[in-house]
């Protein structure tokens, strides 16, 4: 990393409604040209964060610095940020061309310049033939492109996208997502997007910010969030994770309940309550007769063939189920374990993740002693 200050810097940004903190000390740095996606369940504060940046909501505390300039107290119309709204928010009484050129007219740009910019942006979103239509005469996908074109036309300092794909048909989403990414890259725009959809976030982001209850849970690229979640929330929210609560003994034995114990692949400097996170596709089901010692043995509840994998539900002590995905590659003809049978499970050192009682991820202290064969 260079010592150059980040393009956008958010410092301990907070928004309180009464005693409730909708956004709680959010800090974030975004480099120029980067696409950062704020991801989280509804009510996690991601949209409020975006609205704070756009200036629609006044912050209770914290700072927003763009190119080193403090944006506190600046009204939305002086921020030069292009926003794409979830509802598109097109002006219903204006044509596509009037919608797109609105921002330019507000800037008192000369007519000739507006015309050429309009032509350029219309070509960019491939809506040249729709210039004289009204929004209600367009399909959802076309309206979305107008909204995007309108935000791009002003050459914003920051592109803000609030759930831009949520009102589109499922089959259009991927296409539009790629389109947004292409335009953002082509224009070299720095962008901040908000979504609750994990796949969308993974597909579009350079980096992700996972939020929950107003706080940033973890910031990082897709791989870091998936491979090294910093807390159980991220482990469950990004992809799927089985979260097994138990008591850690000897640094490598996690007792889950009556007679069930998981032999961990690594040793941890912790004794007491802990949570083990395991991804369904990273757990191996040991075929009967396999000499590999099992790290854990559970009873099969159900097995469903879903195409790419067989989804197993295995009974956990205390009532829950562990989900396991067994790839179907090279599995043709192999017998599936019947409900009721006992299944030995194994996983690699890199696939387990341990969190302490206060939900912090623990670094391994070293490999666990080798398991004795059963």
């Amino acid at each position: 990393m260079s010592t150059r200050p980040p393009y956008l810097k958010i410092e301990a940004l907070s928004k309180h409604y009464g005693s409730m903190a909708a956004v709680d000390e959010v800090s974030l740095e975004v480099a120029a040209g980067e696409m950062v996606v704020l991801l989280g369940p509804s009510g996690c504060g991601k949209t409020t964060t975006l609205r704070l940046i756009a200036g629609f909501v006044e912050a209770s505390a914290g700072r927003i610095l763009l190119e080193g300039r403090d944006y506190a107290g600046l009204p939305p119309y002086q921020r030069e940020m292009g926003m794409v709204f979830q509802s598109y928010a097109l002006f219903p009484h204006m044509t596509v061309a009037q919608n797109i050129s609105f921002g330019l007219r507000m800037r008192k740009m000369p007519a000739a310049q507006i015309a050429s910019r309009l032509e350029e942006v219309l070509a960019l979103v491939k809506l040249e033939k729709m210039a004289d239509r009204y929004p209600k005469q367009l399909s959802g996908g076309q309206q979305q492109r107008v909204a995007l074109a309108r935000a791009l036309a002003i050459r914003p300092k920051l592109l803000l996208l609030d759930e831009p794909l949520s009102n589109l048909d499922a089959n259009l989403r991927q296409e539009v997502a790629r389109e947004i990414r292409r335009l953002q890259r082509a224009a070299g725009l720095t962008a901040l997007m908000v979504t609750h959809d994990q796949d969308e976030a993974m597909a579009m982001a350079d980096r992700l910010v996972v939020m929950d209850r107003g706080r940033v849970q973890q910031v990082g690229p897709q791989e870091a969030l998936y491979e090294a979640p910093e807390n159980p929330f991220v482990a469950r929210f990004i992809g799927h994770s089985n979260l097994l609560r138990g008591t850690l003994r000897d640094g490598c034995r996690l007792r889950l309940g009556e007679g069930v114990e998981a032999q961990l692949a690594q040793r941890y400097n912790l004794a007491g309550d802990a949570t083990l996170a395991l991804r369904p596709e990273r757990i191996r089901l040991l075929p009967p007769g396999d000499p590999t010692p099992a790290r854990m043995t559970l009873a099969v509840e159900d097995a469903t063939y879903v195409g790419a994998h067989v989804e197993y539900l295995l009974a956990l002590p205390g009532g829950g189920s562990l989900i396991l995905h067994q790839p179907t590659t090279g599995l043709a003809g192999a017998a599936r374990l019947a409900p009721g049978s006992r299944a030995g499970l194994s996983w690699d050192a890199g696939s387990e993740r341990i969190f302490d009682a206060s939900d912090r991820a623990l670094a391994a202290a070293g490999p666990a002693p080798a398991l004795a064969s059963v």
């Binding site: 756009a54 629609f56 009204p75 939305p76 119309y77 002086q78 921020r79 030069e80 940020m81 292009g82 926003m83 709204f85 979830q86 509802s87 928010a89 097109l90 002006f91 219903p92 009484h93 609105f102 921002g103 507000m106 800037r107 309108r150 935000a151 002003i154």
Partner: protein
């Protein structure tokens, strides 16, 4: 109709199509009936008035001795009605403009802003609807007499006072319709305008007000009609020189009950209908009301 032809050509089970239609038809028939009865009930008074205006006798009797349009020809002998119609149109137009000028900004403030006294303002603007017009009229009359005595400025019977009084009953309608209109407008559209660089004033003139057009037209229409047809409040505030059409009709009916009044009403209806048709050229009324 090619679609129907294609459908018929397909040799599918023929009973499958008519069955649901038969099941739905009683409901459809009932709805048509209710709609028809409603339409007749609404049109009947107008049709009756039209019919009465063509009766030749000067005393209403059934069956009439004959029909003619002579009452329309005699309208010219009663310039009072013409003057009253002019007064009504003038007062209603001023009350409409006035109530829009007050009601639109008030609605925007009520819906889009939070300020102390907002609840009180809301109640205040809508409350005249809850007081009978006669009571408001009487109260205003007493007030104006008191003020006239003290200030020696003539008030009763002036256009200005009549318009101010009508504002009391037209503003609640304007506010109510504009508030309803504003509430259904996506707030994000105004935010989008601000985001694109429009100052609050530009947002108002270029986005909010144009988007409110239908609500404003509906509000104006209601205000005009409420003012135009008002009797109970107006009754207290007229003077021999300034009389509105409904009052002129009422006064005429006190002494005579001949078809002339029906002719007056028909002319009035025609004037209003003409105004609506003209208005419809600018805004599709079917979308507004």
């Amino acid at each position: 109709m090619t679609g129907a032809g294609t459908l018929l050509a397909i040799p599918s089970e023929p009973s499958a199509v008519p069955a649901p239609r038969r099941a739905r038809s009683p409901l459809k028939a009932a709805m048509l009936l209710v709609g028809g009865v409603g339409l007749v009930l609404m049109l009947l008074p107008l049709l009756m008035t039209g019919y009465i205006s063509t009766i030749a006798d000067s005393v209403l009797a059934f069956p009439p001795d004959g029909h003619s349009l002579s009452w329309y020809a005699r309208l010219g002998e009663f310039p009072k009605f013409g003057q009253a119609l002019g007064t009504s149109l003038r007062i209603a137009a001023m009350a409409t403009i006035g109530s829009l000028a007050i009601g639109i900004p008030a609605s925007i403030a009520l819906v889009r802003h939070r300020f102390p006294g907002r609840g009180v303002l809301n109640v205040l603007l809508l409350s005249p609807l809850t007081v009978p017009g006669v009571v408001i009229g009487l109260a205003l009359y007493v007030l104006m007499v008191e003020v006239e005595i003290r200030s020696e400025v003539p008030m009763i019977g002036s256009d200005a006072m009549l318009v101010l009084a009508h504002l009391l009953i037209t503003i609640p309608w304007v506010v109510r319709l504009c508030v309803a209109n504003l509430m259904q407008l996506d707030r994000a559209i105004e935010e989008a305008a601000a985001n694109l660089g429009a100052s609050p004033r530009q947002v108002l003139w270029k986005v909010t007000l144009p988007m409110m057009r239908q609500g404003i037209v509906a509000a104006g229409l209601f205000a005009f009609i409420i003012s135009f047809e008002n009797i109970e409040l107006t009754l207290f505030l007229i003077s021999p020189g300034v009389i509105t059409l409904p009052i002129a009709v009422l006064q005429y009916l006190e002494y005579r009950a001949d078809p002339l009044v029906a002719a007056v009403v028909m002319v009035q209806t025609a004037v209003i209908a003409l105004l609506l048709v003209l208005l419809d050229r600018y805004v599709r009324l079917s979308k507004v009301v």
